[in-house]
């Protein structure tokens, strides 16, 4: 009995700081409708500030300072970046906030260095008391109290203060806000400050429990998303219940299945999204804006066709004129172009945002690797199997995904990818865990750099061309119809769900084939092929190339890969890349492809 109580209290303590982060994220989403990927970064910055202040002025001074500091950073984020994106499609918000993650990560690296930092214990709360003969750290009890106090405080704020009433109004009924004569920009600023301060508080309170590291941001944001989605976006009480649920499942799960702790949270999230798409206490969003811009795909045009032809010829003769390294690099570009083309197809033509494209890429990669290593398939059979396995995965995820849209769809795809990632990390017997699967090299006939390059060239060009044809043909027309106006499409007899499902399966196949090629080009596969940064890479490639430019994914993958290759030798390249992403999201929503076609059509107009 005492044991279970102790285990329960330990879980509750973990739930507290998770709740603080998730509550801030949820309030910000409720008021501004922005899904803030950089919220985990605010938590991390809170921890770093608390570490530094604590070493000079003591821990108890450090906690409020960290909360205010993180709040101020959140306010700056809102003023400099996010306010430009309130009316932008959700896709751009997600990607821009990820750009902020990269910038803040490098800023923290610059300010605090790469070493993990072990802060002090909380003075006065460094011991343990015995409850039913089990030692319980007093700091855990303090954390539980803080969690409950914040829940109560938020409750009081919503019920008793004008600000709280406005937040509720903004969350539940947009129009009412205007009717009350509120200036939304002021409300948004205060909301960001409070939400960010809660994240900073959560980070600061973790300092006595764990080391402060540069990877705290992505670890917590994935969990915070889970909590917010399960609780219902915009619901603070929901976030609290979900945080307790997840932390307790983890605390007791570790006793029974010590090796599968990572997957539990994401499975719960996926189930909740399927059964109650808007979370335990959430409501269907009102006036949600478009996931992507509704826009016609740009025409290739004369210059586009000439450029495409030149590109093909250039790629064809590259091994004859380029260095070995250029061939290696372009192999990567071709593979990523294929991966991005899949995402471009479902997102551009279908309007279906995915934050889990890595799921399909990784399924193809692990599929090919397992077929080759466990079943002894030849490279050719394993390569053929990769898109099939990814398509099966896409079909399953798609089955549930087609009922959702916008942020909720993005979150479900994220959950799908994270489930697979967790399996990749923890299902060691099958996937090798962090050790990955090694020794997956190409067949002898294509083992050389050049031969493998031509294999990738051939398969990527064929698959991308097939998708371009599909997007430009009848399939694409009907898919665009479901994106432009789903009720209209239904009224014309189009089975919207099935059409979207087919688009997801096609996207999955393309990414799966790319994943298969990737394994054989690198000789190995690791859980990073399934991780969040891979999904973000795919999104950034699509965005960079232009969501509505037919050649967008090719341009995007090329520019991104080359940019990453040249930048990654610099010390603070992530910040540069992040700034670049933010700039694209704010000022060039058409991407490079969009800019090019504008430029060409302007030049043509001037001449005529």
């Amino acid at each position: 009995m005492g044991f279970f109580v102790a285990q329960f209290l330990t879980g509750l303590a973990s739930a507290s700081s998770l709740f603080l982060v998730a509550a801030g994220l949820s309030i910000i989403f409720g008021v501004t409708r922005v899904v803030n990927f950089a919220h985990g970064s605010l938590y991390m910055i809170g921890a770093f500030i608390a570490y530094s202040v604590a070493s000079r002025f003591g821990f108890w001074i450090a906690v409020p300072v960290a909360a205010v500091g993180a709040g101020a950073l959140g306010w700056v984020m809102e003023r400099t970046v996010l306010r430009h994106l309130y009316k932008a499609p959700e896709l751009f918000q997600l990607v821009a906030t990820f750009g902020l993650v990269l910038i803040i990560q490098d800023a923290a690296l610059w300010l605090w260095g790469p070493t993990d930092l072990l802060g002090p214990r909380a003075p006065g709360l460094s011991g343990a008391i015995h409850i039913l003969d089990e030692p319980i750290p007093t700091y855990d009890l303090f954390l539980i109290a803080v969690g409950l106090a914040v829940l109560g405080g938020v409750w009081w704020m919503f019920a008793r203060t004008r600000f709280g009433v406005l937040v509720r109004a903004a969350t539940e009924d947009r129009e009412m806000l205007q009717a009350l004569g509120v200036r939304p920009d002021r409300l948004f600023q205060v909301t960001f400050f409070i939400g960010a301060a809660l994240a900073g508080l959560g980070g600061a309170l973790e300092v006595p429990r764990q080391t402060v590291t540069l990877s705290m941001d992505l670890t917590i944001i994935a969990e915070a998303f889970v909590v917010v989605v399960i609780g219902g976006m915009g619901s603070v009480l929901g976030a609290f219940l979900a945080a307790v649920l997840i932390a307790e499942l983890n605390a007791f799960g570790i006793l029974i299945f010590p090796e599968i702790t990572l997957v539990i949270a994401f499975v719960v999230m996926a189930v909740v999204l399927i059964v109650r798409p808007y979370g335990l206490l959430g409501k269907a969003p009102q006036g949600a804006h478009a996931a992507v811009e509704i826009q016609a795909p740009a025409k290739l045009g004369k210059y586009g066709r000439i450029g495409g032809g030149l590109l093909l010829v250039g790629l064809l003769i590259l091994p004859l004129v380029g260095s070995e390294f250029a061939v290696v690099l372009m192999t990567d570009v071709l593979i990523f172009a294929l991966m991005a083309a899949g995402l471009h197809f479902m997102m551009g033509t279908g309007g279906l945002i995915s934050f889990g494209h890595a799921a399909f890429f990784g399924l193809g990669a692990y599929g090919a690797a397992l077929l080759s290593s466990k079943l002894g398939f030849s490279m050719w059979l394993a390569l053929a199997g990769a898109p099939v396995i990814a398509a099966i995965g896409a079909a399953l995820i798609g089955l549930f995904a087609v009922r959702l849209s916008g942020v909720y769809l993005a979150m479900l795809t994220l959950a799908g990818a994270q489930i697979l990632w967790s399996l990749g990390v923890q299902w060691q017997d099958l996937t090798g865990g962090d050790d990955g699967i090694l020794g997956i090299w190409p067949a002898d006939s294509v083992t050389g750099t050049t031969a493998f390059y031509y294999l990738c060239f051939g398969l990527s060009v064929i698959a991308i061309a097939a998708m371009m044809a599909a997007a430009g043909g009848r399939f694409g027309l009907l898919l665009r119809a479901t994106r432009d106006n789903a009720p209209r499409a239904r009224a014309l007899g189009i089975n919207v769900g099935k059409r979207r499902w087919a688009a997801i399966v096609i996207a999955g196949m393309a990414a799966g084939l790319a994943g298969g090629l990737y394994v054989f080009s690198k000789g190995s596969v690791f859980p990073s092929t399934l991780a969040i940064p891979r999904s973000v890479d795919a999104l950034v490639m699509v965005l960079l190339g232009g969501l509505h430019a037919p050649a967008g994914p090719i341009i995007g993958a090329g520019v991104f890969t080359l940019l990453e290759d040249s930048l990654s030798r610099l010390d603070y390249w992530r910040a540069l890349l992040g700034a670049f992403i933010v700039a694209i999201a704010i000022s060039a929503p058409g991407g490079i492809g969009g800019a090019l076609s504008n430029w060409v059509s302007r030049a043509q107009r001037q001449r005529s």
Binding site: I294, Q295, A296, P297, R474, L477, L478, R480, A481, R483, D484, N485, P487, R488, A489, R490, A491, L492, G493, I494, N495, V496
Partner: protein, 237 residues
Amino acid sequence: MTVMLEARALRKSFGGLVAVDDVSFTLSRAERVALIGPNGAGKSTCFNLLSGEAAPDTGQIILDGTDISRLAPHVRQRAGLGRTFQIAAVFRSMTVSENVTTALIAAGRSPDNRRALLTEVGLAGLGARLVTDLAYGDIKRVEMAMALAARPKVLLLDEPTAGMAGPERTRIMETAAALADKNGTALLFTEHDMDAVFGFADRILVMDQGRLIADGTPDEIRENTEVKRVYLGDPDA
């Protein structure tokens, strides 16, 4: 006359509020029927029940002998039901011609029919224009062309003249009426404009507080005391 659409004792409530209460009526081939009533009378809900955007709590909808009460919107369409929306719903990323082509493909017909269809609704020559570049009246015509692409047995028009100026209203109603006559399509339309209602409807259904309070020819409705009572104070009455 052949009955094309029959509503039997439809009922739909949201929470405690009964939006549609025991509504029954029929629609015959080539018949033009208007559904009217004050705001909140349940017209929109009734429309959504017919088109499949919402499912009735009880009651049936029979389309040309088939029970479609529980079918999804796109399946009802295939059974012969077409509709337009109060705010014209078109595919905003497409040209006029692509919009109609999409509708034809979805209906399993050849895209070659698009010229004829555009001519029918009076949009000949505008095919290459982006639909968002058109005047609102023309967008409504595009939508009507799309709804007609499958040659539906029954066409539901949700406030076909909303958002349009005087002479344009008459023209779009005339277009709809002509097409209905030509193809034998039954028309059911809701409308606020009483000139359109009394000018074009063969029969008028009047709803109030979720119930059908009158069903008759324009002349009968004009004389109906209950209708007068409901519309008292309404400038259109």
